[in-house]
């Protein structure tokens, strides 16, 4: 076995076991930490495929930013079984059904997909210059549209945050008056 194969199997084992840890751990904080580890293992896979840029972007965006915000919110709310309202049976059933459907879709797409074995030594599609060329030549329209989507999401978040602020100051005023 080469170093490459050893690393591949170790990273895969870490990724799968941490992904299981995400759904099996009782504490939401531990779940998020497991998810971060999973992202790390997947980034390791990217590095193995000579796609360092993708690996680093994966770490910056998911492990560094999104997961930190997740962690932030979950730690601040301090969720646990006592505080968390138990969901009704109907909601649980709906969750199982929608999750199952998603699983079916993923399974179907994996089954029909052609398994392409990557040539691990010569591939350089993940290098930043090649990726940039692909993004801005072949996929320029989807790329720009998704950036507009992100922008609208950002503006939406700001609008919602602003509304909240106005409401709270108004209620604070009302409380002040009632006092």
């Amino acid at each position: 076995m080469e170093l490459y194969d050893i690393l591949f199997w170790v990273l895969s084992a870490i990724a799968v076991s941490c992904a299981l840890g995400v759904i099996l751990s009782r504490n939401p904080v531990n779940s998020v930490l497991f998810l971060i580890l999973t992202f790390f293992a997947i980034s390791g896979h990217y590095v193995l495929m000579n796609a360092q840029f993708l690996a680093i972007v994966n770490i910056i965006v998911y492990a560094g930013a999104i997961m930190v915000l997740f962690l932030f919110v979950i730690m601040l709310m301090n969720l646990n079984a006592d505080v968390e309202p138990q969901k009704g049976q109907l909601v649980q059933l709906a969750g199982v059904i929608s999750g199952g459907i998603l699983f079916l879709v993923v399974l179907a797409s994996i089954k029909t997909a052609k398994a392409e074995i990557m040539d691990k030594t010569s591939t350089d599609i993940g290098l930043i210059s090649n990726l940039g060329k692909v993004l801005f030549k072949e996929y320029v329209l989807p790329f720009e549209i998704s950036s507009v989507l992100f922008l609208s999401a950002m503006i939406g978040a700001i609008v919602i945050g602003k509304k909240e602020e106005v409401k709270t100051s108004a209620t604070a005023k009302m409380e002040h008056v009632s006092e």
Binding site: E2, L3, V29, L33, I36, Q52, F53, I56, V57, I59, I60, A63, G64, A65, M67, V68, L69, L71, F72, M75, L76, L127, I128
Partner: protein
């Protein structure tokens, strides 16, 4: 050319590589051995570095406050930090009863490991780098943004409201100031056209970017200094450990060596931030050259690259240490206002100007 260049660090590294490749036949084993050697030598470099930075911090603080600083242990107090370390080693490492014990003990390790990982692409001298990755700058900013996970873990698992508050502040602070750090790094990346550290240093052979890039690069240098001081939680941005409000912030419950780990990570981060600033803006290990003064340039060439690098890095460390005793600590709202209303818009406009400079070739 000179004796110094003959026995440079890169020659040593090359010699070691050739010797290993000659004596071990298995290529995998060679690379694993080299990684181990690199890791051990990094540790051997970091521990004295942190000792020195601790001493320097105290002396700079004393200098700023017109007092003597440590002067009892060893000549001129140089061994004071050794005494401190021995004290920390012998202290009991307490773990609070109500804490999440696994995460509590893991957090300092994560904080130290992430800061050590960021050392990988830093070019100490010509061809002397642990990992000359093709996205070096991005790598550093990615890894340094991970330290916040360790800080959040420390704050949450301590089961202490001061710790949690400190960790939350630190999280908000690092996530926001990352943007300005990233944008000021990007301005140099645009001018260089490469994310690789060695390319960035090589592009400054005919002048450092802070000189070649006119005012926009100076602006991004200043923004980088401010934002990275905030990112490593140093005063005046040390709200995460504001002792007057939060006892000691996220590491309130830590003692002994676990606390020392946070201290170690702080000094390593300080070094990394300064090294990145020195590499990107001040030319890394490139000597200082002046136009056509060939005699002056030759004299400068005789100073080895590693000395240039260390000199620039310690200059920036000295500046950041002086910040601590110059500016009062910001409030949380002032902190966020500074980032989102001032630094971020300025750096966004600055990136556009730098892009225009790169396109039209306005830089020297």
């Amino acid at each position: 050319m000179s004796l110094f260049l003959e026995i440079s660090f890169s020659a040593m590294a090359n010699g070691l590589h050739n010797w290993l490749a000659g004596s071990i036949s298995n290529a995998t084993l060679v690379s694993v051995t080299e990684m181990a050697i690199a890791g051990v030598s990094l540790l051997l470099f970091l521990v004295p570095l942190c000792f020195f930075l601790g001493y320097m911090e105290r002396k700079v603080a004393a200098f700023m406050q017109i007092r003597l600083g440590p002067n009892r242990v060893g000549p001129k107090g140089t061994l004071q930090i050794v005494a401190d370390t021995v004290k920390l080693l012998f202290k009991e490492g307490l773990t609070p009863n109500a804490s999440d014990k696994f995460l509590f003990n893991l957090a300092p390790i994560i904080v130290v490991v992430t800061s050590m990982l960021a050392m990988a692409p830093i070019a100490f001298a010509k061809n002397f780098q642990i990992w000359d990755i093709n996205i070096g700058v991005l790598y550093v900013s990615a890894i340094s943004s991970l330290a916040v996970i360790g800080i959040l873990m420390a704050g949450w698992s301590s089961y202490n409201k001061y710790s949690l508050l400190g960790a939350m502040r630190s999280g908000a602070q690092i996530v926001s100031y990352e943007l300005s750090v990233g944008l000021s790094l990007i301005s140099i990346v645009i001018l260089t056209g490469s994310l690789r550290m060695s390319d960035i240093v090589a592009s400054q052979a005919d002048g450092w970017w802070i000189i070649k890039g006119h005012i926009p690069v100076i602006i991004s240098f200043v923004i980088f200094l401010i934002a990275s001081t905030a990112e490593i939680n140093r005063a005046p941005f040390d709200l995460a450990e504001a002792e007057q409000e939060l006892t000691a912030g996220f590491h309130t419950e830590y003692s002994g060596m676990k606390f020392a780990m946070f201290l170690l990570a702080e000094y390593i981060n300080l070094f990394i931030v300064s090294a990145i600033a020195a590499t990107l803006f001040l030319g890394g290990w490139m000597p200082f050259h002046l136009g056509n003064w060939s005699f002056f340039n030759n004299v400068m060439d005789y100073i080895p690259g590693s000395l240039w690098f260390m000199g620039k890095t310690f200059l920036i460390i000295f500046i950041i240490m002086q910040f601590r005793w110059t500016f009062p600590r910001l409030r949380v709202d002032q902190l966020l206002t500074l980032e989102w209303k001032y630094l971020l818009p300025i750096s966004m406009v600055n990136v556009i100007i730098v892009t225009m400079m790169a396109i039209f070739g306005w830089h020297l």
